[in-house]
C-alpha cells in the first residue's frame, strides 16, 4: 500500500486538497468551490481522492487557509499553519531560489519576499479586496464571460483602455462607461487586468523590493492576461508553477511531512471522516455586551469543538474533557 501526505487549504472561495508522495510530487489534487460549506466540500474532496486512487495510507496531514482551524478539527491535523508560510514553503519546493511570490486568491492577495530560502518580508491586502480574484470573478460575470476565457481574451487586445481599478464598485462603473463609449470587449478586459495589477503593486506591493525569480500563484495565476500584465509592469518574466492553484495545500502537506518526521506519528482521524455526519450549530452568548457568536461542531451528535468566544468560557468548558487547544 502506498503512503502519502495530505494537504488541505480551506479558503474563502476554494477548498483545495492534495496528496503528496515522499518526493513532494503531487499524486492527486482537488480544487473545489467552498460555497460557504467548508465541511461538506472538504468531505467531498476526500471522498473523490479516495475514489480516484488505489488504496493508500496517510502519513501526515496539514491544514491552512482561513478555515484551517475548522479543517484541523475535522481531520485531526498534525500541523495548522497560516497561508503565508504555506505558500512560501510550496514555492520554494518548485523554485528553490525564488525571491518574490505574488499570490492572488479569492479575497486575499499577498506578496512574499524571500532571501536565501527564508521569508524576509510579506504583505497582505489590508482594507479592500479590489485587487483579488473575487473582483475579477464579478467583472467576468458582468460581461457574461466565463472566468477561464477572460485571460485569453485580454491577450487579443490591441488598444489600451485605462480603467479606474481602485475600488471594485467604481471599476464597474468605469467599465460600463468605457463599454458605452464603444470600446472593444478584449480591450476593456485587458484594461481590467492592467488595473488589477496596478492596484496590487500600489497597494500590496508598496515599498517592497520586487526582484526575480518571481513566482505567481493562487487561483488568479491561471489568468494569462494578468500574468502578462505583471510581466509588462515588472519588466521581467513571471513563472507560474503547474499546480499554482493548490500551492497552499502543497505547502501544508510538506510541513506535515516534516512535522511527522519529528513526532513519529500522525493525528489523522482516517479517510472515513468523509462519511461522518458533521453539523455546525451556533448561538449568540448573551452573558456580556460582546455578544460573541459561539460555534459548535457536532460529529454525529457529539460535540467535537466549540470556539468563537472572546472570554474563553465556552471553549474552556469543553477543554476540560477534551484537550484540544483552539485559537
Amino acid at each position: 500500500m502506498k503512503s502519502y501526505y495530505l494537504g488541505i487549504d480551506v479558503g474563502s472561495v476554494s477548498t483545495n486538497v492534495v496528496l503528496l508522495d515522499e518526493d513532494n510530487k503531487v499524486v492527486s489534487k482537488k480544487y473545489l468551490r467552498t460555497q460557504g460549506k467548508p465541511i461538506r466540500v472538504l468531505q467531498k474532496g476526500l471522498r473523490e481522492l479516495r475514489q480516484e486512487n488505489d488504496e493508500f495510507r496517510i502519513k501526515g496531514v496539514g491544514t491552512t487557509g482561513s478555515g484551517r482551524y475548522l479543517a484541523s478539527i475535522i481531520v485531526g491535523a498534525d500541523i495548522v499553519k497560516n497561508e503565508i508560510t504555506s505558500h512560501a514553503i510550496a514555492a520554494l519546493n518548485y523554485v528553490p531560489d525564488v525571491r518574490t511570490i505574488l499570490e492572488i486568491g479569492g479575497q486575499d492577495s499577498k506578496i512574499i519576499i524571500l532571501k536565501d530560502g527564508i521569508v524576509t518580508d510579506f504583505a497582505m491586502n489590508t482594507v479592500c479586496a479590489a485587487g483579488t480574484g473575487s473582483f475579477l470573478d464579478r467583472q467576468a460575470a458582468r460581461l457574461g464571460l466565463d472566468i477561464q476565457e477572460f485571460g485569453r481574451l485580454a491577450l487579443k487586445s490591441k488598444n489600451p483602455v485605462r480603467i479606474a481599478g481602485r475600488c471594485a464598485v467604481f471599476a464597474e462603473s468605469d467599465m460600463i462607461h468605457k463599454q458605452q463609449l464603444g470600446h472593444n470587449q478584449e480591450d476593456i478586459i485587458n484594461g481590467l487586468c492592467d488595473a488589477l495589477v496596478r492596484n496590487y503593486l500600489n497597494n500590496v506591493g508598496k515599498g517592497k523590493e520586487i526582484t526575480g525569480p518571481i513566482v505567481f500563484q493562487g487561483g488568479v495565476a491561471a489568468n494569462v492576461g494578468i500574468k502578462r500584465a505583471f510581466e509588462n509592469a515588472l519588466n521581467t518574466e513571471v513563472y507560474v508553477p503547474e499546480n499554482h492553484d493548490v500551492m497552499g495545500a502543497i505547502g501544508s502537506a510538506i510541513m506535515a511531512k516534516e512535522k511527522v518526521k519529528k513526532t513519529g506519528k500522525t493525528n489523522f482521524k482516517g479517510m472515513d471522516i468523509s462519511d461522518i455526519n458533521y453539523k455546525v450549530k451556533g448561538f449568540e452568548c448573551s452573558d456580556c455586551a460582546n455578544m460573541c457568536e459561539v460555534v459548535e461542531i457536532y460529529a454525529d451528535k457529539k460535540i467535537v469543538a466549540r470556539y468563537g468566544d472572546k472570554c474563553g468560557k465556552w471553549t474552556n468548558k469543553l477543554k476540560n474533557n477534551n484537550d484540544e487547544q483552539l485559537a
Binding site: 503565508i84 508560510t85 536565501d116 527564508i118 521569508v119 510579506f122 515599498g207 455586551a289 485559537a327
Partner: protein, 369 residues
C-alpha cells in the same frame, strides 16, 4: 454630579481613582464591546477615525447608566483629535442628551481658563488638594501600567498563558466594584501577586516585538483586537512605544520641555523625518528606530483607517526596515476589521521572526561570531 470619561486602556482605573479621591461620583463606561462600537458607528461621521466612534459609544453607554458630566482631554495638535471634543459635543446635543462636557485643552495662552475647568470638574477650589490627588492618580496609573507590562512579559513564558488572561480579566472586573485610591491599589497588588505566581517554562525562547503607531489604537485592547494577548500566546513579548503613563509624563509632568523618552524619539526620527506631521507620526518613526537599535526581533505599526499622521509614518517605515534589517508590519483597524485575517497576519509575522532567528543562530554556529 456624576462624571464619566471615554475609555483608553488602563486609563479608567487612574481616572476613577483620581476623581473619587476628590470626592466625586464616577461612572466608568462599560467595557468597550461590539455594542459600544455599533452605537458609535451609528452616530459618528462615516469616515472619522475609529477612536472617535468608540468615544461616542462610551458616552452613550455611560449616560444610560446615569452620567451627567463628561470629561475629555483636548489637543491643539494638527490631527483630527483636536476637533474631537467640538464634534462630540454637537453630536450628543443633537441626540438630545442633556450633559455637561468639560474639555481639558492645553492652556494656549489662557492658563486660568484651564484651571477654572479643572476646578469645575473636580468639584473643589482647593488647588493643593487637586495637586495631591493628581499625584496619587498618577501613581495608580503607573501601577496599573506596570501590571500590564508584567502580564505581557509573563504570557509568552507561562506554561499556560491563558492563566495570565484570567488574572487580568478578574482584575478589571473587580476594580470597578471598589472605591478610591487605596482600594484600587489593593486590587492591583492582589493581581500582581497572583501574576508573579504564574508558573513559567524555563529557557523558553521568546521573541520581542515593539508596537508603534497611533496612541489610542496601541493602548485600547478592544480596538487593537487584543494584540498583546494574541502575540503573547504566539510566544512574543510585547513592548508598547506609548502607554498612558508615558503620555502623562510627557504632557502633564514634564511641562513645555517634554519627557526625556519622547525627546529621544524625536531625535531618533531625525534622519528620516525632521518635522512634526501631526499626532504621533514622528514618534512612530522614532520609536521604530529605537526598537531596531535595541535589537528587537520585529516591529508592528498599528493605526486606525484614515489616520493621516500614521500614513506618513507608514511610508517611511520601509526605509527603516531596509537600513536596520528588522521586519516591520503595518496593521490597519476599523469597525470592518475581520479578526481571522488579523490573526493570520500576526501568525505569519511571528513565523517570519522565528525562521529569521533560527537562521541567525545557525550562522553563529557556523562562523562562531
Amino acid at each position: 454630579m456624576k462624571i464619566t470619561f471615554p475609555h483608553m486602556g488602563n486609563v479608567y482605573v487612574a481616572a476613577k481613582a483620581l476623581l473619587e479621591d476628590l470626592g466625586n461620583e464616577v461612572i466608568v463606561p462599560p467595557k468597550c464591546s461590539k455594542k459600544t462600537l455599533e452605537l458609535g458607528t451609528k452616530y459618528s461621521p462615516e469616515t472619522i477615525c475609529l477612536p472617535f466612534k468608540i468615544n461616542i459609544g462610551n458616552y452613550i453607554e455611560s449616560i444610560e447608566k446615569g452620567a451627567d458630566t463628561i470629561l475629555i482631554t483636548g489637543s491643539c495638535g494638527p490631527c483630527r483629535f483636536g476637533y474631537y471634543s467640538v464634534i462630540e459635543k454637537e453630536i450628543l446635543h443633537d441626540l438630545g442628551y442633556d450633559v455637561e462636557i468639560i474639555v481639558f485643552d492645553p492652556p494656549d495662552g489662557k492658563p486660568m481658563e484651564l484651571v477654572k475647568r479643572i476646578m469645575k470638574a473636580t468639584n473643589t477650589k482647593n488647588v493643593a488638594k487637586i495637586l495631591r490627588s493628581l499625584v496619587r492618580g498618577k501613581k495608580v496609573l503607573e501601577k496599573v501600567d506596570e501590571l500590564t507590562d508584567i502580564a505581557n512579559k509573563k504570557r509568552p513564558r507561562a506554561i499556560n498563558g491563558y492563566e495570565v488572561d484570567m488574572i487580568i480579566d478578574e482584575f478589571h472586573r473587580e476594580v470597578r466594584k471598589v472605591y478610591g485610591v487605596e482600594q484600587i491599589i489593593d486590587k492591583i497588588k492582589y493581581a500582581r501577586e497572583k501574576l508573579e505566581n504564574v508558573e513559567i517554562e524555563k529557557n523558553k525562547e521568546v521573541y520581542k516585538v515593539g508596537i508603534v503607531g497611533e496612541i489610542y489604537t496601541i493602548i485600547e485592547p478592544f480596538v487593537n483586537l487584543e494584540i498583546e494577548r494574541k502575540l503573547g500566546h504566539l510566544g512574543v513579548e510585547v513592548d508598547k512605544s506609548l502607554t498612558p503613563t508615558k503620555w502623562v509624563k510627557h504632557h502633564l509632568f514634564s511641562g513645555p520641555i517634554g519627557s526625556k523618552e519622547e525627546n529621544k524619539k524625536i531625535e531618533a526620527a531625525k534622519p528620516y523625518l525632521k518635522a512634526m506631521v501631526g499626532g504621533h507620526g514622528r514618534e512612530t518613526v522614532g520609536s521604530a528606530v529605537i526598537y531596531a537599535e535595541e535589537g528587537y526581533d520585529g516591529i508592528i505599526q498599528l493605526l486606525p483607517l484614515t489616520c493621516m499622521p500614521e500614513i506618513v509614518a507608514e511610508s517611511i517605515l520601509p526605509a527603516i526596515q531596509r537600513d536596520y534589517g528588522v521586519p516591520i508590519m503595518t496593521l490597519i483597524v476599523d469597525e470592518m476589521t475581520g479578526e481571522a485575517g488579523y490573526l493570520t497576519r500576526l501568525e505569519a509575522f511571528v513565523d517570519l521572526l522565528k525562521k529569521r532567528k533560527e537562521d541567525k543562530n545557525i550562522e553563529k554556529l557556523l562562523f562562531g561570531n
